[in-house]
Symmetry: C2
Amino acid sequence: MPAYHHPAPETFELSAVLRALADPARLDIVRHLERVGEANCATLIGTRPKSSMSHHFQVLRESGILHTRIEGVQHRNSLRRDELNTRFPGLLSAILQAS
Amino acid sequence: MPAYHHPAPETFELSAVLRALADPARLDIVRHLERVGEANCATLIGTRPKSSMSHHFQVLRESGILHTRIEGVQHRNSLRRDELNTRFPGLLSAILQAS
DNA sequence: TGCATTGTTCGAGTTTTATCGAACAATATG
DNA sequence: CATATTGTTCGATAAAACTCGAACAATGCA
């Protein structure tokens, strides 16, 4: 399992970030990561199948919203808070703050 | 031409707002309104046909992002800054601030 | 080695969204 | 009233995105 590619903050695209966060399932993922800091996919799967979740994590990763660290068989995800805040100041916190 | 329906701030949905702003054409509209304050559809039409623009304005209106005032034959659009800021503090300015 | 766990990838089906021309409605103006 | 202006609505097409099962890959452990 090769390591993932994570885009550099300079290449984050606002449209991609907004599109990624516009999906309720992905917004749930982001909110959960905000609370727990780091989580693997399995702990975040609710009723959805693995393949759907894997897709959502991919969208979040490729837009720059989260980072995936591989540890053994688990893929641990966490928000790229600092990098997002550097590129789009205040955006993530404004979105997380919204009820 | 009946007046438009503009949703109340309490009913704004974050997903809908993000989805509306995730489209580059609509983000351009929002940025333009930010600059000029108020504009009708015609002045915002670039290369796209009227029907496409009308659709984008509808999406922006129904998500709560802009208000459309009818004056004669023109439909004047402006951002609902205060209402958006009340419902989602800091969100619009964070998005407008992003390059 | 055999098996369970974790997650990706593939492919197909469904839904949503965007695009745009044509026809229409409403207002203004000559 | 005739015509131009502004923008919506309709309908069809195309593109994008979501969903999910099945097969696969990689690790960990007995």
